[in-house]
């Protein structure tokens, strides 16, 4: 009667929410437990690491994790902090003390205005879903040129590729500087025409992440 009980988290078949996982595996991310058994919580593919089975989602919005490098866009300025859109369901806070600037009280907007972007790092996430970002980490800074593209966050690793091969290919073929935020916001800077080509490549990878021969397709696109 129950088809989910016959599907096991082995092989490469996609798991759907509620599908039962193999009995001897411990429940990792993207899973939940019910009556002593583990189930997939999201649509995705399972993978094992140190005895735990995780279900990697194939879709969904960004959920912040401490240490993630993200591209953030300012949506609101307060007297001593900025509220930044990082694609999560709550805006992230950037406090003035988390920058290298000396920001006078009420003077935040002269450093980062609404719509301005920064490469930031998530440094705090609490149980209620609130989170904060900082600019006081390696590479973090306000971004002054280029554009911001948006891709599906679960597809970020595909856009970067194994050992960064995919993103290196796009950088080499377009001469652009590219930063792929873990939140699916992608900063691309270069000649306007080259930015457009790089953006198209990035969006194509995100859209067609599950199709075969993607690297060849992107190579062809960038010829």
């Amino acid at each position: 009667m129950n088809p989910s009980s016959s599907k096991q988290a082995s092989g490469r078949s996609v798991l759907l929410p509620g599908d039962k996982l193999e009995a001897d595996q411990k429940a990792g991310s993207g899973t939940f437990r019910r009556d002593g058994e583990s189930h997939a919580a999201v649509l995705g593919f399972p993978s094992e690491s140190s005895g735990y089975v995780n279900v990697h989602p194939l879709a969904g919005r960004y959920s912040p994790r401490v240490g993630d490098k993200v591209i953030a866009i300012c949506v609101e300025t307060g007297p001593s902090l900025w509220r930044m859109d990082i694609g999560a369901f709550q805006n992230s806070m950037l406090h003035h003390s988390e920058t290298d600037w000396k920001v006078d009280f009420g003077d935040t907007a002269s450093f980062i205005g609404i719509g301005d972007a920064a490469l930031a790092e998530v440094y705090m996430v609490d149980g209620s879903g609130s989170h904060q970002v900082t600019l006081k980490k390696d590479d973090c800074r306000k971004l002054y040129a280029g554009t911001i593209a948006r891709i599906s966050p679960p597809r970020v690793s595909r856009v970067i590729g194994k050992q960064g091969t995919m993103i290196t290919l796009i950088r080499e073929k377009t001469g652009c500087r590219i930063q792929v935020g873990q939140n699916g916001f992608v900063w691309i800077d270069g000649e306007p025409e080259q930015i457009a080509r790089a953006q198209k490549a990035v969006e194509t990878i995100s859209r067609e992440a599950t199709s075969r021969g993607l690297t060849e397709k992107i190579e062809k696109l960038l010829e």
Binding site: I73, C74, V75, D85, G113, I114, G115, D116, A117, L143, A145, G146, T147, I148, W187, P192, E193, I195, A196, Q199, K200
Partner: protein, 262 residues
């Protein structure tokens, strides 16, 4: 529509590209995106069309109901046009009664059809002074990917062209006949990106455009409706050039409409 904060960098990039005659999706300045028209999908409507223009999809249903004529036009049918910005089409579309953007959209499409006299309203009289056909054009926006005006006008025209008068159902005659159509309005919408004007703005271009201009022509190249939108402004030359461009740029939509309504 509620605001979504637009990245200043994206605005700058789109404007810079436009100034060089380029666009994010690789089109030329006066080029439409791919268009597809399917008609007759909705069994409960007298005419229907689903039109996709780039990433925008609109479903339009035409219903004909018998009603009383307006006192000042006892021998003529009438029409009503609505647009619903369905919540599933965009995160920015909020539930609730139609707000100004939906009302403006419906009225501009309505004007294009009404002023071109696309529908022969005299042919919609059932009984002089007593009973006429009322044409309801209801447009449902299912996917918002920019340029709702042109997609909606095309959807409305396609659904009307395909509509039958339901004589049998209402016991008026023993045969359903085509809605009397006399003219084909098509609209072309332009967006101002920085100092550049482009045709058929996509989603991201609409996020950063400062002004919008819609120009509706009939098939003889005569103007039938126009609408300027947003808080930016056009120069006199920009307006005149856009009107001229629209006259030839609408060919691709006309061709699609013609094929879909053969």
């Amino acid at each position: 529509m509620s605001g979504q904060t637009v990245a200043n960098l994206m605005r700058g990039h789109i404007e810079a590209l436009a100034a060089r005659g380029e666009r994010t999706d690789g089109r030329g300045a006066n080029e439409f995106r791919d268009v597809s028209i399917e008609t007759g999908l909705i069994g409960t409507a007298e005419g229907s069309a689903r039109v996709t223009l780039g990433e925008t999809t609109v479903m339009c249903g035409v219903k004909l109901l018998a009603g009383t004529p307006y006192p000042d036009s006892p021998g003529r049918g009438s029409m009503t046009t609505t647009a619903e910005l369905a919540c599933l089409a965009s995160e920015q579309f909020e539930p609730g009664p139609p707000r100004e953007p939906a009302i403006e959209l419906a009225r501009v499409v309505d004007r294009g059809i009404r002023e071109s006299q696309m529908i022969d309203f005299e042919g919609l009289c059932i009984e002089h002074g007593e009973k006429v056909w009322v044409v309801f054009i209801d447009m449902h926006i299912l996917d918002y990917g920019g340029n709702l005006f042109d997609c909606c006008t095309l959807a409305a025209a396609s659904a009307l062209a395909h509509a039958k008068i339901p004589n049998v159902q209402h016991g008026i005659a023993d045969k359903d006949v085509d809605l009397p159509i006399s003219c084909w309005p098509i609209s072309c919408t332009f967006a101002k990106l920085g100092e550049t004007i482009v045709l058929d703005p996509n989603h991201d271009e609409e996020m950063v455009m400062s002004a919008r201009l819609t120009v509706a022509h009939d098939e003889n190249g005569n103007l039938r409706a126009m609408q300027k939108g947003y808080n930016g402004a056009f120069t006199v030359d920009e307006i005149k050039t856009a009107v001229k461009t629209a006259r030839t740029a609408d060919k691709v939509l006309r061709k699609a409409l013609k094929e879909a309504t053969k």
